[in-house]
């Protein structure tokens, strides 16, 4: 009887632990904190755009869902829809890397200027007319040209 009770308590304890893990694992928002994940790929904004234009399917396999550090020149900075967004030049003037910045980056973004070379870490979501990176953070501060 005593042994049976131990098994029940052990099973219940295990279920509670799994429950707590799942709550912590999944209760956060769908933003990914770039400080806690390692980089999969380092690439320039021009090369990233070129890869998608040459072969979108192949580029998706290489970059979609991956944590990317992308270096490039700032084409534009926008604050539309309450989002802080940095556009980096691609190799042609029609396509850019769109970096949707993590909300805590607002202070750093205000100090940036068009034409400045920067490095950004984010998760690549794919390509429409531009490559799209979400959850982005500036890294190594700015590299002034």
């Amino acid at each position: 009887m005593h042994k049976k009770a131990n098994i029940i308590f052990f099973t219940l304890g295990l279920l509670i632990l799994i429950g707590v893990y799942l709550v912590f694992r999944y209760s956060g928002d769908s933003y990914m904190n770039m400080n806690t994940v390692s980089t999969d790929v380092e690439i320039s904004s021009g090369e990233l755009i070129s890869s998608f234009i040459v072969d979108e399917d192949a580029a998706n396999l290489m970059y979609r869902g991956k944590i990317i550090e992308v270096e490039g020149i700032i084409k534009d900075i926008t604050f539309l829809n309450n989002r802080n967004t940095i556009f980096l030049y691609g190799k042609n003037k029609y396509s850019s890397v769109i970096c949707d910045m993590y909300p805590n980056q607002e202070g750093e973004i205000k100090d940036l200027k068009k034409g400045q070379k920067i490095k950004i870490k984010g998760v690549c979501k794919g390509f429409l007319k531009d490559a799209i990176l979400l959850n982005c953070m500036l890294i190594n501060t700015t590299i002034n040209e």
Partner: protein, 182 residues
């Protein structure tokens, strides 16, 4: 879907110069969807939606990455992409259509129907969407909302989660266009 990509490519690259001056683009269109049930409310936003309008042809094209929707909870994001929308197989949703009776010379706010084809999860359906078109400083803002029945797009919800997901999903959009210059 491939035909749509060709259409956008054609739109951007091969129309003549005069036609280009009638084109407007947004790379930061906003699309939100809402699922309301007694069990759970689910909401997600995509702020990187691509849309191009041609005001002389009265045409509109929209394309978005399904995995770029941001949810309040990461588990919702995971279920949406892996189980329902299968964004690895069907990464984009697209819409291409005509703005009916649109008058580009009318600077006042216009309410117009847009008729076209909506493709989600690899399934294409003809839809009609009521939109509001504002002309501000020579550019355009198009907003609207519509509803999509989940079953129309072959999105399978596991029976255990059926009470959590609405049968009809509400969709809102706002596209703030800029003149498209090459």
């Amino acid at each position: 879907m491939n035909k749509f990509i060709v259409l956008i490519f054609f739109f951007i690259n091969f129309t003549d110069f005069d036609a280009k001056s009638d084109q407007f683009i947004t790379r930061q269109g906003q699309v939100s969807f809402f699922s309301y049930t007694s069990v759970e409310d689910i909401e997600a936003k995509n702020n990187q939606v691509l849309s191009i309008i041609d005001i002389s042809k009265k045409e509109i094209a929209v394309s978005m990455l399904m995995n770029a929707f941001v949810f309040k909870k990461s588990l919702m994001h995971e279920h949406f992409n892996e189980s329902y929308i299968e964004s690895d197989l069907y990464p984009k949703a697209t819409f291409g259509g005509k703005i009916i009776d649109f008058d580009p010379s009318d600077a006042s706010m216009q309410t117009r129907m847009v008729k076209g084809n909506l493709t989600i999860h690899g399934i294409t359906k003809a839809v009609e969407i009521k939109t509001t078109i504002e002309q501000i400083d020579g550019s355009y803002i198009i907003t609207g909302d519509f509803e999509v029945p989940v079953k129309d797009f072959d999105i399978k919800i596991p029976p255990i989660l059926a009470p959590n997901i609405a049968k009809i999903i509400s969709i809102k959009f706002r596209f703030e266009y800029q003149h498209y210059e090459k």
